[in-house]
Amino acid sequence: METYYNPADLARFEEIGKNAPDLAKKFFDYYAAVFADGALTEREKSLIALAVAHAVQCPYCIDAYTRACLEKGSNLSEMTEAVHVANAIRGGASLVHGVQMRNIAEKISF
C-alpha cells in the first residue's frame, strides 16, 4: 500500500537542492553547524532534536534522531525523558491557554 511517508525518502533529503541549490547549501551548512559540538555537546543537541521531532511529529526526524541519540551515547531512559519534555511542553501549551478561556468566559459571564 502506498503511503505519503516512505522511510527510504529520508536518504533522499539532499535532492531538495535540485531546483534551489544555493538555498539548500545554505540550509545544510547551517544545519551541520547547529549540530556540531559547541556550548552544548552533540549528544545533548541530539536529545533536543529528538524531543522537537516528537513535538513536530516528523517521522523522518524521529527515525534519524533515535539513531543519532544512540550513536552519540544516549540511552533509552534519557531518550524517553526527552520525549516527556516535548510532551509536557505540548500539553502545557494547551493547558495554559485555559487561562485565556477562563479570562474570556469571566468577561462575558455574570
Binding site: 559540538d37 555537546t41 552533540e42 549528544r43 539513531r67 544512540l70 550513536e71 552519540k72 551515547g73 540511552n75 533509552l76 531512559s77
Partner: protein, 312 residues
C-alpha cells in the same frame, strides 16, 4: 574480488602488512558470558575450544623467535583458560607490553585472587569491555547482572592500583554499541565515561576505545534475524574512511587461534580466513613474523575497521 577490496581499489589503496609488532593470542572460545555482539559466538558451552598446554608452549616459542613488542591475549574469556598464568609469566619475559582483554566478570569472580596478583606483578595492561554507562543497555548486550559485576571489578582493579597515576598499571576500557548502530566518537565517549564513572562509582581509568560491532558470528545472526543486516552493512560501507586504512590493526598484528593457526586478525580468525588468504599456517611451521608488504585477506566485515575514524 570482494566488495571491500573493490572499494580499496576505487580509492587506489591496497591493504598490506607493515612491520608486525603485535601477537594477538586467542586462547579459546570458552566464556562465562554469551554477549549478543560476540563475533566469535563464544560462550559457556565451548569447553573444548580452549588452548591446551602444548599449544601454549608453541605460542611462547613462536613469540620467542619472533620478538613482538606487544602481546594481546584475548578469548572468549582468557581468565577461564588454565594456561593463562603460564602465558603471562613466560611472555612477560619476552615482550615489553602484555595486554589482557577481559570481560571483567570472569576476572573478578572470587576465584582469581592469584590472577589479580599476577597481572599486577607483571604490569599486564587490562583492556576491559564496558559498553555503556546505562545498566539496561549493558545487561541487554552482555547478560543480566554483568553491569554491576563490571562496576565491582573496575573498583577492585582501582583498589590494587590499576588506572591510578604513578602505578604503571594501565586500565583501558572498550565501549561498543549496544545494537546495530555506530559507536560514539572516541574522544566524546572517553570524556563522558570518565566524568560519569568517577562521579557515580569513583572509578578511574586510563583510556577508552570505541569499537564498532563486527558483523560476524552471533552478531551477524542477530542482524539477519532482526532484519537489520542490510542496513547495518550499508551503514558501515557508507562510513568508509580511506584515511583509516593506514592505521587498521591488521597491518601490524598477527592473530593465533587456540589451535595454533595464524590469521590476519581476530575477525578473520572467527571466519576461518587464513593469514594472507593462503593455506592455513600453524605456528610450528612459521619461522617468524609475517613479512612487511604481505597481502592481508579481506572480506565484507573489514568495513567495520574503516568506518569513521577507524578501528585500530
Amino acid at each position: 574480488m570482494d566488495h571491500f577490496n573493490k572499494t580499496l581499489a576505487a580509492h587506489d589503496l591496497q591493504l598490506t602488512r607493515r612491520e608486525t609488532t603485535t601477537l594477538q593470542i586467542n586462547v579459546g572460545l570458552l566464556c562465562n558470558q554469551t554477549c549478543r555482539h560476540c563475533h566469535l559466538d563464544a560462550g559457556p558451552d565451548r569447553q573444548q575450544e580452549n588452548m591446551n598446554q602444548k599449544t601454549a608452549e608453541a605460542v611462547v616459542a613462536y613469540a620467542q623467535r619472533s620478538k613482538f613488542d606487544t602481546i594481546d591475549i584475548t578469548g572468549g574469556a582468557p581468565e577461564l583458560n588454565p594456561n593463562l598464568p603460564y602465558l603471562i609469566e613466560s611472555l612477560s619475559r619476552i615482550s615489553s607490553r602484555i595486554m589482557l582483554r577481559s570481560n571483567l566478570s570472569a576476572l573478578n569472580n572470587g576465584k582469581n585472587a592469584r590472577l589479580m596478583d599476577l597481572i599486577s606483578l607483571h604490569q599486564v595492561v587490562i583492556v576491559a569491555s564496558f559498553p555503556s554507562l546505562d545498566e539496561s543497555q549493558a545487561n541487554g548486550q552482555r547478560g543480566d547482572g554483568v553491569f554491576q559485576a563490571s562496576i565491582k571489578a573496575l573498583q577492585k582493579l582501582n583498589s590494587i592500583g590499576y588506572g591510578q597515576s604513578g602505578t604503571g598499571l594501565e586500565l583501558n576500557l572498550v565501549a561498543n554499541p549496544t545494537g546495530a548502530f555506530l559507536p560514539v566518537p572516541q574522544a566524546q565517549s572517553e570524556k563522558r565515561f570518565r566524568e560519569v564513572l568517577h562521579k557515580k562509582w569513583g572509578i578511574e581509568f586510563n583510556h577508552l576505545y570505541s569499537f564498532a560491532n563486527v558483523p560476524i558470528g552471533r552478531f551477524r545472526e542477530w542482524l539477519k534475524a532482526s532484519g537489520n543486516f542490510d542496513a547495518y552493512m550499508k551503514k558501515l560501507a557508507n562510513a568508509f574512511n580511506p584515511c583509516a586504512v593506514d592505521a587498521v590493526m591488521c597491518r601490524a598484528l598477527v592473530s593465533v587461534s587456540w589451535e595454533g593457526y595464524l590469521y590476519d586478525c581476530d575477525f578473520n580468525l572467527a571466519r576461518s580466513i587464513p593469514l594472507g588468504g593462503c593455506k592455513r599456517t600453524h605456528i610450528l611451521d612459521m619461522p617468524g613474523k609475517p613479512q612487511p608488504g604481505n597481502p592481508i585477506a579481506t572480506s565484507d566485515h573489514c568495513y567495520t575497521c574503516t568506518a569513521g575514524t577507524g578501528f585500530t
